[in-house]
Amino acid sequence: MTPAQYKDIVARAPPDDDMDGGDSGHSHDHGGGMPQKMGQGHADAGAHDHAYAETAPAAGILMNMDGLKPHAVPQAEAVSDQLHHALQQGDRNAVLALLAPDVTITEGNVVQTRDAYAAVHLGEDIAFLKHARITTVSQGSEQQGDTAIVGSESEIQTIIKGKPISLRSREVLNLKKTGNAWKIVAIHWQSTPLTEKAS
């Protein structure tokens, strides 16, 4: 099987809805319980000592998006939109094209490099989001020199084990401007369930 064939079949595969519990040894359970997307305040992009979302109270896991204003950095927000669109469309190349070579992706309790994310979790995210309905609740941004922060909050609705599940997903992107292009240098994801977790 070629890499392209593998990516294609994984993108078409149904979500892994057979897991009992949230995380059976894998750092990112894309469909078995809740997608364990993690994140943290954008002011702390270099540190990763956050608490685990699933065990933290909802109020305690909200990422700090203070100071972010809608349409403050339209080009950076456009990159955020492109990322969401590419993930849901299963366009791996488009996703990777938005990421800087030294990007870090904080998802689950693992901080991943670009290569590590591309090798495993990107495919899982694509598979999970393929059947999800995503509604953007809010989005804001802020520019600091040649860097920008884009924060967004969305509701994700999908079906797990035949039960409808709603998640509140928060995302903070750190971007850096290179020439005329904004590249994502850090991604932080965090989700909490809005309904009872499927058992």
């Binding site: 890499p3 994984v10 892994d16």
Partner: protein, 152 residues
Amino acid sequence: MKKHIKHHSITVAVVLGVLAVGTGAFVYSGIYNIGADDHHTKPVFAVLQTLRNRSIHVRSEDLKVPDLNDPQLILKGAGQYAAMCTGCHLAPGMKTSEIRPGLYPQPPNLSQTRIDPKDAFWVIKHGIKMSAMPAWGFSHDDPTIWSMVAFL
């Protein structure tokens, strides 16, 4: 003659006793490095590998294999594999992963290695002691595990 047999029995008992004490002393001493970064000697590895392979095969040979050419089964298995297996067993286009270099024994690269379907099912379901292979049978039913085998 009886005296000769009795003498041999005592000798065997003494030898076995010395071996048992020696083995116990060796185990308790902590001399053997259990760290995954210090590999087994070739003879020890060969013994453990044979034990593992035979244990798996003896327990899997009577399994009834479903139709592994079912496209829907293969498709389901692809998603399962991507979610649970690639970190250790890699995937087409993957050269390594963050966890793989530190695993000992090294898990097979399943994008390049063909595993007997019955053995694969048994290993996925029951796991392997003293390795990083978990028993997925605790959280996955048999049809789901067969889907992974079909994909492989």
